[in-house]
């Protein structure tokens, strides 16, 4: 299988990036290619990098509950460009009912605090496989 390429990014002004960096390291250990964007990214900048890098996955890390405001904007941009092949994963402090709301908007998986790396890697891998299969049909 082709190496999975993941964009890992914070979104908006929240600078709490420990989780994003730790997850990046874990994904690299699992053999994925990670493009780490870091802090102060806007929906626009994440979208732009996704296109340039031709990434399979976008992983957004949220601590400040800005997932309710900024993630939908990013999804809109991806939908407008027909980029349905990109897997969108949101991780961090995302309490109920937001995981379901985000999924309804088009987020493929929501990963809560304390999730272990084998679960994160397994979730991303199977979502990418599904999308690749769907694209090949």
């Amino acid at each position: 299988m082709k190496k999975i390429k993941v964009i890992v990014s914070k979104i908006g002004l929240d600078g709490h990036d420990v989780g994003a960096k730790v997850v990046s390291a874990m994904l690299r250990d699992a053999g994925m290619e990670v493009v780490y964007l870091g802090r102060f990214q806007s929906p626009e900048s994440i979208f732009k990098t996704t296109v340039e890098e031709d990434a399979d996955v976008i992983g957004i890390s949220c601590q400040s509950s800005n997932h309710t405001r900024l993630v939908p904007k990013l999804i809109d941009m991806l939908r407008k460009e027909g980029m349905n092949h990109v897997v969108i994963v949101v991780g961090g402090t995302i309490p109920d009912p937001f995981p379901e709301e985000l999924k309804a908007l088009g987020v493929d998986a929501v990963i809560g605090p304390g999730t272990l790396s084998n679960v994160i890697v397994g979730t991303i891998t199977s979502l990418v496989e599904q999308k690749r299969k769907a694209a090949a049909v």
């Binding site: 002004l13 960096k21 390291a25 806007s42 601590q63 400040s64 800005n66 405001r69």
Partner: protein
């Protein structure tokens, strides 16, 4: 339900900082122990046993909360609620836009104003937040040391001037030391040089005007929450304090005057005994730094006033009610360590901003500890324990070694440029995660006593409404229309001219500008332009005051 009652053969006996621990400690572990040199009575140098004679017999530690969210009005209501349940003083922690130094109506801020902190764009917001808190009778601490650090005190001085409150009646402080902030989740994209100029100006202004407003305040908590255990936290915290103090001395300020009060914010981690050792060792380390590095003669400058705050990282989202127990244990280590002020975290904080109920439970936990357990009856009750004294010495020794290494490599400021400190912190965070993954670190709810999510307790979730954010954005737009824009423009011009002169303290003019409702984004933006930077750190908006 999975349980792990049997003991793991791979279990490691070491502290969170990696200090190997013996089975039992005995007199031979304290062979060189000298009571007067190593401890002294509480209130006596080197303050290991506590800053004051009698400690909690005379006054229980200060019990308070970091708080604020939503619009300025929402924040004011929560602060009033906190005061009603017994929180002492007001701690202002700002939202991200304010900490970064942009206004609520900035394109990067319109979705985030008030999401996780008190939004302050102008004096108008401060006036709203402090409604009902007379500033001559309230201890106000501005906890955010980002771009808002030097500006909020000016808004506060502006408020005092408007209300005719003499400076001598002001009480509180500001956590101005940005050096730790560079390694935290609240990093600001503003230039270090400009920030440093403003912060030093605020300290100088307070020192010269003899304000009882503590500005020599470091928050090691900010860097610690990146995942650095006790030894690293102490070393980085004091490296930041030294970096700041050196700047102030360089300005010609007298150490014993600007350090007349030395508040210092630590995180409270879960390693019970290492935390107690950390608080005890830190007072001793600071007393020595003050005397030996800065030639301090003022005992007040040698006393490290520890305000500790329960870690947000140790609260766990799974089975969140367990956090009530965790927090109680953490508060206890802070009390046994002789901390002067202690903030809890709330049990629901790994999931959301705290609800009122969660806040009340935390306040009750504090008072259960203070009044029901008898813990406050005797000063430094663990002193003399072979283990606690050995561990205090060990934490002290290792912290000095790391601090010395940082100083030898050029101090914290060089470390910002070089990147090696960042790498050290990132490695500590990664090690923590790897220990959780391997099971070397057991966490109930994550890798021990795990239950399926559908069996988990459901707790109320508190979210900031979109309407509150919109209200805040509108407030800023309105004030920019209502105020005297000519006066703002002229004062900002004056401020930039003074900055260019290089040797003028900017606080008086910043305070005048704040009085006319100049905003935090405009103050930073104008000064940035004066120094050749783009008006906006994100280069999305232009100065509204262009000729």
């Amino acid at each position: 339900m999975k349980t792990t009652i049997q003991e793991d053969a791979n279990r490691k006996f070491e502290s969170a900082s990696g200090i190997p621990l013996k089975e039992m400690y005995k007199p031979e572990d304290l062979k060189d122990f000298d009571y007067d040199r190593d401890l002294g009575d509480a209130g006596e140098y080197p303050y290991t046993r506590g800053l004051y004679k009698g400690m909690f017999r005379n006054r229980i530690w200060t019990r308070r909360f970091l708080s604020g969210f939503g619009s300025a009005k929402d924040s004011m209501e929560r602060l009033k609620y906190l005061a009603s349940i017994g929180s002492e003083g007001v701690e202002v922690v700002n939202d991200y836009p304010t900490q970064v130094g942009i206004d609520a109506d900035h394109p990067m801020a319109v979705d985030e104003a008030g999401l996780v902190g008190i939004p302050v764009s102008s004096l108008d917001d401060v006036e709203t937040i402090l409604e009902g808190f007379p500033i001559d009778k309230t201890t106000i601490t501005f906890e955010s040391s980002g771009a808002s650090g030097p500006v909020l005190p000016c808004m506060y001085f502006a408020m005092a001037q408007k209300h005719g409150v003499p400076y001598s009646a002001l009480n509180g402080g500001a956590a101005l030391n940005l050096y730790c902030q560079y390694y935290s989740g609240f990093v600001t994209p503003q230039p270090l040089e400009l920030w440093s100029k403003l912060a030093v100006d605020v300290v100088e202004y307070c020192s010269k005007n003899k304000l009882r407003f503590a500005t020599f305040h470091t928050s090691a908590h900010n860097v610690s929450e990146e995942g650095t255990p006790a030894v690293m936290e102490i070393a980085l915290g004091f490296a930041a304090t030294i970096a700041f103090a050196d700047r102030l001395v360089e300005r010609g300020l007298n150490f014993d005057e600007f350090a007349n009060r030395v508040p210092f914010t630590f995180t409270i981690w879960m390693d019970f005994f290492e935390e107690i050792a950390k608080f005890r060792a830190s007072r001793k380390i600071w007393a020595r730094i003050a005397r030996e590095r800065y030639g301090s003669k003022n005992p007040r400058a040698q006393r490290l006033y520890i305000a500790s705050r329960v870690s947000g990282l140790t609260a766990i989202a799974q089975q969140p009610l367990n956090n009530i127990g965790r927090i109680a244990i953490q508060l206890m280590s802070a009390a046994l360590g002789g901390c002067n002020a202690i903030d809890p975290v709330m049990y629901d904080e790994p999931l959301c901003l705290p609800t009122e109920v969660a806040t009340r439970i935390a306040m009750c936990t504090q008072n259960i500890l203070a009044y029901e357990t008898g813990i406050a009856n005797v000063v430094d009750p663990l002193a003399g324990s072979y283990y606690v004294e050995w561990l205090t010495n060990e934490v002290e020794k290792r912290s000095w070694e790391l601090l010395q290494k940082i100083l030898d490599k050029g101090g914290l400021e060089e470390g910002v440029k070089d990147g090696w400190i960042r790498t050290m912190i990132d490695e500590a965070a990664l090690k923590r995660q790897k220990d959780i993954e391997s099971g070397a670190m057991k966490l109930v709810g994550i890798n021990d006593l795990v239950i399926p999510p559908e069996e988990d307790h459901e707790i109320p979730i508190h979210m900031v409404s979109k309407a509150s954010t919109e209200e805040q954005v509108q407030r800023v737009r309105d004030i920019k229309k209502k105020r005297n824009n000519n006066a703002v423009k002229e004062l900002l011009k004056k401020l930039v001219a003074e900055d260019k002169q290089g040797n003028v303290n900017l606080v008086p003019t910043m305070t005048e500008a704040c009085k006319e409702y100049a905003t935090i984004g405009e103050i930073w933006g104008s000064l940035r332009v004066g120094r050749g930077y783009h008006y906006d750190p994100f280069e999305m908006i232009e100065s509204p005051f262009k000729e």
